[in-house]
């Protein structure tokens, strides 16, 4: 039924690092670089538990619902398959919890802030 774009349509690698360079010296940095690249390449990107069709946590579910309510296309990365994704993401963002929404490369917030912004109308402005 729904033809709106979903994260599954997007070329996300679900957090897997890009094909390693021949030496692949540091897996951790590869994960961090993959995260930074994903944030740079997608204007609106959500790091969450599970995926938008099947969120694995109530906070992720509420954040997805807020984004869908304002009709914002967004990329999504599931942090669950590899614990390094969450560790490196939090190191980059200085934010301890999941989900995390980035717009234009900047951390907007987690579930509380995104939901507050949804209620005040700011979210629609931010993702426009």
């Amino acid at each position: 039924m729904s033809n709106s774009p979903t994260a599954d349509d997007l070329p996300m690698a679900h957090g897997q690092p890009p094909p390693p360079a021949p030496a692949a010296p540091d897996q951790t940095n590869a994960v961090r670089e993959a995260i930074a690249q994903a944030i740079a390449e997608h204007r609106v990107i959500l790091f969450m538990k599970g995926n938008p069709e099947a969120p694995a946590c109530g906070f992720s579910a509420r954040t997805v619902a807020a984004l869908q309510s304002v009709g914002a296309p967004f990329a999504a990365v599931d942090v669950l398959p590899d614990p390094r994704i969450r560790a490196e993401l939090s190191a980059i963002s200085n934010w301890p919890t999941i989900p995390q929404l980035f717009v234009d490369g900047e951390l907007v917030g987690g579930c509380d802030i995104v939901c507050e912004m949804y209620e005040s109308g700011e979210l629609e402005e931010a993702v426009r």
Partner: protein, 96 residues
């Protein structure tokens, strides 16, 4: 992977090393000058908390920065023993 598995096996009454709402309130209020916190354990399970915090330090800061000030009180406990700390932060209302 391996080391994380045992904690998820089952609930045990012998493993209640969890912070209480009262303790979280006290720690926020003692770490952030002038802060007033209202904290509730909204699942009753001792690991999902919701806090409303008012503090002068929040004035002029973005929501992200306000929440970081509170998260910093707990460091790596967030996502660990404190599975979730849902926040609503605001500066105190201006004096009239």
């Amino acid at each position: 992977m391996g080391p994380l598995a045992p904690a998820r096996l089952r609930r045990s009454t012998t493993l209640t090393v969890m912070p209480s709402s009262e303790e979280i309130k006290r720690r926020i209020e003692s770490a952030i000058p002038g802060a007033e916190a209202h904290v509730e354990d909204y699942t009753g399970g001792g690991d999902h908390f919701r806090a409303t915090v008012t503090a002068p330090a929040f004035a002029g800061r973005s929501r992200i920065e306000q929440h970081r000030l509170v998260y910093e009180v707990f460091g790596s406990e967030i996502g660990g023993p404190i599975h979730a700390l849902s926040l609503k932060t605001q500066p105190p209302p201006p004096d009239r």
